[in-house]
Amino acid sequence: MSSVDIEAIKNQLGLEINAVNSSQGLEELRIKYLGRKGLISQLTGMIPGLPQEERAAFGQKANALKNKTLSLIEEKQRSLGQVSAVEEFSGLDIGLPAIVQDLGRLHPLTQIIDEICAVFVRLGFSVVEGPEIETEYNNFTGLNIPLEHPSRDAFDTFYLKPSNNTNDQRPTTSDRLLLRSHTSPVQIRAMKSQKPPLAVVVPGRVYRPDAVDASHSFMFHQIEGFMVDKGIRFSDLKGVLEAFAKAVFGEDIKMRFRPHFFPFTEPSAEVDISCIICKGKGCSVCGRKGWLEVLGAGMIHPNVFKHVGYNAREYTGFAFGMGVERIAMLKYGINDIRLFFENDLRFLRQF
């Protein structure tokens, strides 16, 4: 054997080690080269039989080959991973169905409500809920909505049949019961039961006798929020709602406040976000305006404070309200509000 043979063995080793794809194959290769009767010990065993002057050079080459083999095997071992821990198998078909216990899903409206409330909770708000059957007082009068006023038209309301118990006194108008037409009555409840500072968000179901179509439902969800303390300003309302819009719709969202009228706030605003479909350029979703109305808001009216027994000279506050379905429809691109209440699993599984 000569140095030429050593080169040949080295080349062969390179080819063979590339072909190895299991630890078993690598072990066979190790025995073939480095075993007691392996190729390399055969080489070193030949050294005594060589002429004196060749021994040193040949020995070095054989040794280099041995080191090379060791390092290649080690490298291969690493590339095969924790080779020793993996059970060898055959016949796996990774295309077969997975075996798993699948999770259910929260309704998309729940997901949106949770997401929005979480934003406000991070800002220091607490989440409160209120009853769905309300008094006319909490739903209207306490919120500075006069009993007979055109502003009531916007809040068309389901009333409950008065009790027919003859012993009962005929209920006065304020005691009449109704299904809340907005989540704002929780303002009255919260403020009557607690003193400022107050920062609350109220998610919940609301009801209005609207004929059902793609954009109307007689039952839907709102999130109401309000904050009352000394020194709360309109500018704070803007800051809080901008933080909300950025968290829910993304950092690039623009927001604008337009003067509007709500009986329970003064000054009042309608709040638009830049259209999330066309980014404000104008499209069919935003009616070519580039803006989408998402919120009503304002500074809580002093008359509301009067109703709950707060001193309007001492405290100020803001309130806002939004329709959850509308936000979900915008965010997910849903075009029919009825889908939320049909509960088709093919719809629900998309969220």
């Binding site: 607490s126 389901f158 609207d210 939320f340």
Partner: protein
């Protein structure tokens, strides 16, 4: 409300393009929802909020534009009108003595005016006027009616033109007096209105009545006359202006907003006139509007002259409000001083007098019925200065502890989702029929449902769940596992409606599951609902719970002995109501309020056992009607002290088990706290347990 660009320009100088103007209006609270072109004149569709009736006219919007753009309002001239009035007073054959206006109650009608116009020729209104009216969606009728509408849109004061000769019925003769009476209708009184409808009136409706009285009759007690119009809403057919009208009685008045609203609702007729009276018309505009219209009638209907009569007063006490610049700054979070405040408010028609330091006395003009207190003025400042110019800030946060109940609800939903259930949201209002057989509680009824599907509030979540199951089975779903957390509503014994937060679950079909050997179909059953309840209760820290088979076959769910709900399989005839056939539906409904009241989510560590347990299984066969729960209880009660745990490790029926019997594997774990137990120690204990099972239950141990 619609308004055109050129019409506005009659009242105010505008240098902005229509689109720029639309943007400015929107940002000032007059939201422009549409901008079209009608015959070369841009038409703005503007949403007017209910608090601003002063914007329901071209003049009102023009005033706003002048304030926003700091441009000049064009003076609206009345001098010419005054001159004509003098002239006409002389020439008109009906002298001032011949018409008498009586207002029954000044609260219903604070001001009523009538302009008598002589010698009209009814024809088409001039083209420019018809075009403008059509631009804002008002149909052209004839010159007289069009002029009243033109003034209504221009100045916001509704007018009504009567054919005077149809009221008086004969040509005016000296010595006759026309009585115009503004009074409540008598019950059952009738009037055919301009739209041809015969309307039956009531005492809640204000009418204009007319009575013609001869000289001698005038001495007698005043009559009540015949209705000729429903005040502020719609005129009578009998007295309407037609092509032969030669003399006109032109009405301009102020009617009570509330009364108008109620009458409009009762009669179900809404007009441009009622829309404005309901919201409030400026008394200061009544005479101007009437005279402006008369002026136009003189010009475009060739009338000869007119005479003005009135009763009541246009004068109202103007509100005065003290405004502190400090309050404005504090409320808005901006810097604003008295000079800027005065400039803004003056442009809007307020009169401002600066008092000591930063305080101002503000007089509210008659057309701003919405401004009652300081904060209303602050809104005006913010609005005209621009909401966009208020910088966003963040308030100091008020930290409050989270609501415990809400946390539990979210936690519960997460557990259910983790168990593979899909959340649904269904309607709280249902058809009464859907509750039949599912809940015996009385449901609160809705007074004004739109349809039968909304007639009651649901007393149970089951109908909503069944609707979902049915719908999804129809979509070829083979497996439906859903839950809802929502309120149920009940009428209590005292007829007071109450609400309770519930959890409802419905399971139907078989859950397809892959195991190593392939697909198995996990057929839903009551035991699946048992499993869900147990996991839920365990995670909520509720240990003292029990499922008890009730007399009707339903399983009662109890916590600490109290009923909190039930698990049941829906009867076939109930399922048929939802078109569910050949399927079993399992339903759970429990009160989350009661569950949460018992929830203990705080954790306490128990030391781990020091010594290993020895487990012995007993495979036994018992009669089918014996209950596994009774066996476990018996074993527990008679257990030797070393029995740490006993449970059913398996259950089976089938070929190896004789008919009428079932197989159970009872698994017993023995453990000592002091030492490692030995086989020898366990053997007698285990034998005694086997003995109990044999003796008490006749179990055959295999």
């Amino acid at each position: 409300m619609k308004v055109t660009y050129n019409w506005l320009k009659d009242f105010v100088e505008i240098t902005l393009s229509p689109q720029e103007l639309a943007d400015k209006l929107t940002m000032a609270g007059l939201e422009v929802t549409g901008l079209d072109n009608h015959g070369g004149d841009p038409v703005f569709e503007i949403e007017i909020t209910s608090n601003r009736p002063d914007w329901l006219s071209v003049a009102g919007i023009a005033r706003e534009i002048a304030a926003i753009t700091k441009s000049k309002l064009r003076a609206y001239s009345v001098e010419r009108i005054a001159y004509r009035k003098k002239l006409s007073a002389i020439r008109y054959p009906l002298s001032a003595k011949t018409i008498k206006i009586s207002i029954e109650d000044r609260k219903d009608c604070p001001l009523y005016t009538a302009n008598l116009i002589q010698g009209t020729k009814v024809k088409q209104a001039p083209d420019w006027m018809r075009q403008r009216l059509e631009s804002v969606g008002c149909r052209s009728i004839n010159n007289i009616v069009d002029i009243t509408n033109y003034i209504l849109f221009s100045l916001g004061e509704p007018l009504h033109a009567f054919d005077l000769d149809k009221i008086v019925r004969r040509s005016p003769v000296a010595g006759r007096q026309l009585d115009i009476i503004i009074r409540r209708a008598k019950k059952g009184e009738e009037l055919v209105t301009i739209d041809g409808e015969k309307r039956t009136l009531s005492e809640d409706i204000l009418v204009i009545a007319a009575d013609e009285i001869t000289g001698r009759q005038a001495d007698r007690r005043q009559g009540t006359g015949k209705p000729i119009a429903i005040a502020g809403i719609i005129g009578g057919k009998d007295t309407e202006v037609d092509e032969n009208t030669r003399n006109v009685l032109l009405e301009a008045a102020i009617f009570n907003p509330l009364l108008t609203r109620r009458a409009r609702q009762a009669l179900g007729v809404q007009t441009e006139s009622s829309y404005r009276f309901e919201r409030g018309v400026d008394p200061g505009m009544v005479q101007v509007a009437s005279e402006s219209a008369s002026e136009l009638i003189l010009e475009h209907a060739s009338a000869e002259c007119f005479a003005f009569f009135s009763s009541g007063t246009a004068a109202i006490k103007k509100r005065q409000i003290l405004l502190d610049a400090e309050s404005a700054q504090k409320n808005l979070g901006i810097t604003i001083g008295p000079t800027q405040i005065k400039s803004i408010l003056t442009r809007l028609g307020f009169t401002v007098q600066v008092k000591e330091k930063r305080k101002m006395q503000v007089v509210v003009p008659s057309f701003r019925i919405d401004v009652a207190q300081e904060v209303d003025l602050i809104e005006e400042l913010a609005r005209i200065r621009g909401y966009e110019n208020i910088p966003p800030t963040l308030p100091k946060t008020c930290l409050k502890a989270a609501d415990h109940k809400k946390d539990l609800l979210a936690f519960t939903k997460d557990i259910l989702v983790g168990l593979g259930l899909q959340e649904v949201i269904t309607y709280s209002l249902v058809d009464r029929e859907s509750l039949r057989g599912l809940c015996a509680d009385r449901a609160p009824e809705v007074l004004n449902p739109l349809s039968k599907d909304q007639e009651v509030l649901r007393t149970t979540l089951a109908p909503g769940l069944l609707t979902c199951v049915s719908r999804n089975l129809n979509q070829q779903e083979l497996y439906v596992a859903i839950f809802e957390t929502a309120k149920r509503f009940v009428l209590t014994d005292k007829n007071v409606p109450g609400e309770e937060l519930m959890l409802g679950i419905a399971l139907c079909g078989a859950r397809p599951r892959f195991v190593a050997d392939g697909l198995i179909k996990d057929k839903m059953s009551i035991l699946h609902l048992k499993g869900i309840t147990e996991v839920l209760f365990e995670r909520l820290g509720i240990s003292d719970h029990l499922l008890q088979i009730g007399p009707a076959g339903a399983v009662t769910v109890k916590i600490k002995g109290e009923d909190i709900g039930a698990i049941f399989e829906a009867k076939k005839d109930i399922l048929e109501r939802w078109d569910i056939k050949n399927k079993e539906v399992f339903i759970l409904e429990i009160s989350l309020e009661k569950v949460f009241a018992s929830a203990r989510t705080e954790k306490k560590f128990k030391p781990l056992p020091l010594y290993p347990a020895i487990t012995r299984d007993i495979s036994l066969v018992i009669k089918e009607d014996l209950l596994a729960g009774d066996i476990l209880t018996a074993v527990r009660l008679n257990a030797p002290s070393l029995l740490a745990e006993v449970k059913i490790a398996d259950f089976y029926k089938g070929r190896q088990i004789p008919p009428g019997y079932k197989g159970l594997t009872v698994s017993c774990a023995y453990r000592s706290a002091e030492r490692t137990l030995t086989e020898e120690e366990i053997a007698p204990l285990h034998a005694s347990i086997c003995g109990i099972l044999q003796d008490r239950f006749g179990a055959k141990i295999r």
